[in-house]
Amino acid sequence: MSDSKTKMVAPPEGVVGEGFFATKLNDVVGLARANSLWPLPFATSCCGIEFMATMASHYDLARFGSERVSFSPRQADMLLVMGTISKKMAPILRQVYEQMSEPRWVIAVGACATSGGVFDTYSVLQGIDKVIPVDVYVPGCPPRPEQIVQGVMQLQELVKNESVRRRNSPEYKELLASYNL
């Protein structure tokens, strides 16, 4: 396989010896999680079309371990919120987030999901971080597929370095409590 052009993920730092490799559990779990993030596309409007382009042949998000688009919240790791979330939609978004199992991450794709964008009106939620916690924000209206890929890669970095205990920590519980989740 030496002539293969497939780029493998580098192993984490560790001690290599005869027949063994020792490293931190955190790093191994992080490595595994980061490279198999199953996306749940919560596409409401324009950015959803750009996400389709991201998933399709030209940009191919599958290269980053997101081959399987999980439309069921139960089996998804990262929630990609793409497009305007109106106040009518907000409770549904929250419900979808609640249905996801830990660990779960959220990317707010595009200006609307991030801050309401140009729609500073009575019917639009001014940023999804009013109802659910967000890990990565992708700017743009809509962002180019490269930007969405960049956002996913940023999230991969976060996931890689996240402690396995983070989800049990009091800080995390406090964060959720601040959203009444």
Partner: protein
């Protein structure tokens, strides 16, 4: 034979007399006004008369005119289209405060949601509508947001300090 403007005008006046008024050529579309109590009949006549044959309802729009006198506070604008002769026509009716008008859902099925939209945005009550409830906004909403007195922006925003945007209640 093309459908002549004068012909439509004469026909409407001979049938409805002073219930139809303000005939004008508004750019490329012929338009006139009808009183709210006759509007249903007028539209039915426009649709069912064999010579007029305006069989397609293109659009139904509500408009709010808070500066007008009390009998012209709201308007409903109907755009009808005769595909055979390729003629469009615009019919308007003006309504007072707490507007009410008969529905035209019995004439055009597509009027259903258009009227619901007008109810949602302007609070225009379409009498006889099968299911007059909010369509785009939340059920819980109390205001009719397209009326001029309601601001565009959400009143509950905390992240914007109007002083920094040069805005006062008068200019936004």
């Amino acid at each position: 034979m093309a459908l002549e403007i004068e012909f439509i005008k004469e026909k409407m006046i001979s049938k409805y007399g002073n219930k139809v008024l303000n005939f004008e050529m508004s750019r490329d579309i012929f338009s006139f006004e009808a009183t709210p109590d006759e509007i249903h009949d007028v539209i039915r006549f426009l649709k069912e008369d064999e010579q007029l044959n305006f069989h397609f309802l293109t659009d139904l729009a509500g408009v709010h005119f808070p500066d007008n006198d009390e009998n012209h506070q709201f308007a409903i604008v109907y755009h009808l289209h005769n595909w055979v002769e390729n003629v469009r026509i615009r019919v308007k009716t003006y309504l007072p405060e707490s507007p009410e008008v008969p529905t035209i859902t019995d004439l055009f099925l597509c009027a259903n949601w258009m009227e619901r939209e007008a109810w949602d945005f302007y609070g225009i009550n379409f009498i006889g509508h099968p299911q007059l409830k909010r369509i785009l906004n939340m059920e819980e909403m109390v205001s009719h947001p397209m009326r001029k007195e309601f601001p565009m922006e959400d009143g509950g925003r905390t992240d914007k300090d109007d002083r920094f945007f040069g805005r006062t209640p008068a200019n936004c």
